[in-house]
C-alpha cells in the first residue's frame, strides 16, 4: 500500500540527494578548474619571466640566472623546468633544474602557440606544460646586430600538489555530502512525521469510529487548515450517516412494535378459543379477522413505503382528479358520517399525468388523516388542481413543534394506540410518494388549522 510518508521521504530524499550530488560535483569541478587555471597562469607568468629575462648580448643568448632561480628553475629541489628549442627543433638551452635530462614534448607541442598540456616530468611526476614561440630581445648597445633567432620555449611544472589538493577537496565534499545525506534523512523523517501528525491523528480518529458510535465527531481543534475542511466535511457526513442509521433503526423497531400489539391480540384470542372452545363466538371470529385486516393494511403500507423509497419507479398515466377524489372520500364515507365531518371541496376538473397507485395513496392518507384526527363535526377544506392539492382541517391537539415530525414514519401525537387503525405511517407514505412524483409537500399550522400542501 502507498504511504504518504514514504512517498514524501523518497521524493524529497531523492531530490535532495540529486541536488547534493550535482552541487558536490559542481563544487569539485569548479574548485579543480579554478586551481588548474591559477596553476596555468603561474606557468604562463614563469614562461613570460624567462622570455623577458632572455636577451642576445654580443651575439650570445643569455638568461639572467637570478631570475631563473627566482622563477624556480634553478638547481636543487626546484620543480620547474624549461627547455628552449631552436627553429629546427634541436634543444637550445635547458633550465638548471633539468640538468642533463630533457623535457618530454606533449603531443600537441608546436601546434598552437601559448597552449597548455598535461605531461610527465623527467622525475616521473605528473606535470603541466606550456609553450610559446618568441624572438629574444637584442641588447640595445649592439651595433648592427644579426637578426635574432626564433625560439620555442617549453615550460613544465610539477602539478602533483594540485592533484593532492583536488583529491582532498573531493574527499571533503564526499564526507560532508555523505554526512549531510545521513543527517538530512534523519531530519527529513522527523519533519515528515511531524508534518503528517495531524493527518495521522485524523486517520486514527476516523478509524476509531464504528457503526455503534456514530455519535462521535472529529475534533477540528489543532488541525491545520488543509485538514480542517476535510474534518468538517467528514463530521457533516457522520451526522447524516448517524441520522440515517437512527432513522433505519427506529423504523425497524417501530415496525416491529406496530406488529406486536395486533399479534398479541391474535395470539391471546387464539389461545382463549383453543382453551375454551365453548366461548368462541361469531364475534371472536370477526375480531380475529379485523386484527388480520389491520395487519394486512400495515404490511400494504410498509410495502408501498418500501416501493416509494427504494427507487423512483413510477408508471405515469392520465388520472381524473375529480373521480380519484370522490373515490377517496367514498372510502371513508362511514367514518365521515359517524364523526359528522363536513367537506368544503373545490376541484378544478380535468385529467393530469401521475402514478395512479401513488396518487391514490396520497389522497387516501390525507383524507383519512383529516377524517380521523379532526374533531367531531369539523370542516375539512380540500383544494385540488392538477398542480396543487391542499387539505386543511382543525387540529387542536397539534403544536407548532410537532410539525417537523409530522412526516416521520410511525410518528403519532400520542404514543398510545387509541387512534385505532393508524400506525403513524400515513404522512410518511404521502411524503415518499410525493418525492417519487417529484413534488414537494409542506405542513403549516395556523390558529389550530393544519394545512398540508402538495405542489408539483
Amino acid at each position: 500500500m502507498r504511504s504518504i510518508r514514504r512517498d514524501l521521504a523518497v521524493r524529497i530524499g531523492g531530490v535532495s540527494l540529486l541536488i547534493l550530488l550535482v552541487g558536490g560535483f559542481g563544487l569539485y569541478f569548479s574548485i579543480r578548474g579554478s586551481l588548474e587555471r591559477q596553476f596555468d597562469q603561474g606557468l604562463a607568468t614563469k614562461t613570460q619571466a624567462i622570455i623577458t629575462a632572455s636577451e642576445i648580448d654580443d651575439g650570445e643568448f643569455e638568461i639572467d640566472l637570478d631570475i631563473q632561480a627566482f622563477a624556480g628553475f634553478g638547481t636543487g629541489d626546484q620543480e620547474d623546468y624549461f627547455e628552449i628549442f631552436a627553429e629546427d627543433g634541436s634543444s637550445f638551452l635547458k633550465s638548471p633544474s633539468l640538468g642533463l635530462r630533457s623535457l618530454a614534448k606533449p603531443a600537441t607541442f608546436g601546434e598552437e602557440d601559448g597552449s597548455f598540456a598535461d605531461t610527465i616530468l623527467p622525475d616521473g611526476l605528473p606535470g603541466r606544460a606550456h609553450w610559446r614561440t618568441y624572438v629574444p630581445a637584442i641588447d640595445d648597445d649592439e651595433v648592427d646586430p644579426l637578426p635574432p633567432p626564433t625560439l620555442r620555449i617549453l615550460v613544465a611544472s610539477d602539478e602533483s600538489y594540485i592533484h593532492r589538493i583536488v583529491r582532498l577537496i573531493a574527499l571533503l565534499i564526499a564526507l560532508v555530502g555523505g554526512a549531510a545525506v545521513v543527517a538530512g534523512l534523519v531530519i527529513l523523517n522527523g519533519v515528515v512525521r511531524a508534518g503528517l501528525k495531524p493527518l495521522d491523528r485524523l486517520s486514527a480518529d476516523v478509524q476509531a469510529i464504528g457503526v455503534t458510535d456514530l455519535d462521535r465527531r472529529l475534533d477540528p481543534e489543532g488541525l491545520p487548515e488543509e485538514l480542517n475542511g476535510v474534518a468538517a466535511k467528514l463530521n457533516e457526513l457522520l451526522e447524516r450517516l448517524e441520522a440515517s442509521f437512527t432513522r433505519e433503526r427506529r423504523f425497524t423497531s417501530d415496525a416491529a412494535h406496530e406488529l406486536r400489539t395486533p399479534l398479541a391480540e391474535l395470539r391471546v384470542m387464539t389461545e382463549v378459543g383453543a382453551r375454551w372452545p365453548e366461548d368462541f363466538s361469531e364475534k371472536s371470529g370477526t375480531d380475529m379477522l379485523e386484527v388480520i385486516s389491520e395487519l394486512e393494511a400495515l404490511l400494504d403500507t410498509l410495502s408501498l413505503l418500501a416501493r416509494a423509497e427504494t427507487g423512483p419507479r413510477r408508471s405515469l398515466e392520465l388520472v381524473d382528479l375529480e373521480a380519484s377524489l370522490a373515490e377517496a372520500l367514498a372510502r371513508f364515507q362511514s367514518e365521515i358520517e359517524v364523526r359528522g365531518i363536513r367537506f368544503d371541496l373545490q376541484v378544478e376538473p380535468g385529467r393530469f399525468l401521475s402514478d395512479p397507485v401513488l396518487w391514490r395513496a396520497i389522497l387516501q392518507n390525507l383524507i383519512g388523516n383529516a377524517v380521523s384526527y379532526a374533531p367531531r363535526d369539523a370542516l375539512v377544506t380540500v383544494r385540488a388542481s392538477p398542480e396543487k392539492l391542499v387539505v386543511s382541517n382543525p387540529a387542536p391537539d397539534l403544536e407548532p413543534e410537532d410539525l417537523p415530525y409530522l412526516f416521520d414514519r410511525f410518528w403519532r401525537k400520542s404514543e398510545s394506540r387509541s387512534g385505532k387503525g393508524h400506525a403513524g405511517l400515513g404522512l410518511s407514505v404521502v411524503r415518499a410518494s410525493v418525492d417519487v412524483l417529484e413534488g414537494t409537500c409542506r405542513a403549516s399550522l395556523d390558529s389550530g388549522i393544519l394545512t398540508l400542501e402538495i405542489v408539483w
Binding site: H257, R260, T261, V272, V291
Partner: protein, 224 residues
C-alpha cells in the same frame, strides 16, 4: 386473585380479561391512565397488569406515582416496547416483572402468580395448610394426598383464603377478590361459595379448615 388490567387496545384487554376471569380471577379493566388511577385509588388489587403507552397518562407515570404513594401492589408491565433500556427502566422504577407482546396467556398467569407469591414472601407455588396442599401453578388441590376437584371460582376462593392462613377475611374482602367490580347477584354468594368449598375440602369427616368468625368473616387454619 383480584387483578387490574390496564390496556388501551380494546380487543386485547377484553380477551385477556376474559381468559383471566375464566381462570377464576376477578378482573377490573382500565382503558387509559385516568381510569387506572381511579381504579387503584378505590380498590385493593393482588396485582396490576400495566400497558406503558396509554392515552391521558402513560404507564411509567402511573407506576412512579403509585410507588411514590407507597402502594406495594405487584405490577407486571405488559408492553410492545422490547428494548432492554425500556425493560430496565420499568423494573428500576418499581415494576415487579415485564412481559413483551406478543405473549402466551399461560406465561402472563405464571408471572402474575410469581410476583404475587414474592409479595407474600412465599418461595414456591405450593401453599400448605395442615395436610392440604394447593399448587398454584397446576391449580391442583390435595388433602392427605387425595386430589380434590374444584371449580375455577372455588379455587379462587381457596387461593384467597389460603394465602393468608390465620387471618380473618371479611365477606366484602372475599367478595371483591372473587367478583371484582361486578356486583354479586346474591348477597349470600360468598357464604354459599364458602359452604361448597368447605364441604369439598373435608371429605369423609376430615377436620374443617375454613372457620366462621361470627360477625367478622372467615379464617383459614388447621385448628379452630
Amino acid at each position: 386473585m383480584r387483578l387490574l388490567l390496564v390496556e388501551d387496545s380494546d380487543r386485547l384487554r377484553a380477551t385477556v380479561a376474559h381468559a383471566l376471569s375464566r381462570l377464576g380471577h376477578a378482573v377490573d379493566e382500565a382503558v387509559d391512565g385516568r381510569e387506572a388511577e381511579i381504579a387503584v385509588s378505590l380498590n385493593d388489587y393482588d396485582a396490576i397488569v400495566l400497558d406503558l403507552m396509554l392515552p391521558h397518562r402513560n404507564g411509567i407515570d402511573l407506576l412512579v406515582e403509585w410507588r411514590r404513594q407507597g402502594n406495594p401492589t405487584p405490577i407486571l408491565i405488559l408492553t410492545a416496547k422490547d428494548a432492554i433500556d425500556d425493560r430496565v427502566r420499568g423494573l428500576a422504577l418499581g415494576a415487579d416483572d415485564y412481559l413483551v407482546k406478543p405473549f402466551a396467556i399461560e406465561e402472563l398467569l405464571a408471572r402474575l402468580g410469581a410476583i404475587v407469591r414474592r409479595r407474600h414472601g412465599q418461595l414456591d407455588a405450593v401453599l400448605r395448610v395442615g395436610d392440604l396442599t394447593v399448587d398454584l401453578t397446576s391449580r391442583s388441590v390435595k388433602r392427605a394426598g387425595v386430589e380434590i376437584i374444584l371449580t375455577a371460582r372455588e379455587f379462587a376462593l381457596l387461593e384467597c383464603l389460603a394465602r393468608r392462613p390465620g387471618h380473618t377475611l371479611t365477606r366484602e374482602q372475599i367478595e371483591s377478590h372473587l367478583y371484582g367490580e361486578e356486583s354479586s347477584p346474591l348477597s349470600n354468594a360468598v357464604d354459599a361459595a364458602v359452604y361448597a368449598l368447605r364441604r369439598k375440602l373435608s371429605p369423609d369427616g376430615a377436620p374443617p379448615l375454613i372457620h366462621t368468625r361470627r360477625g367478622l368473616g372467615y379464617v383459614f387454619q388447621e385448628k379452630r
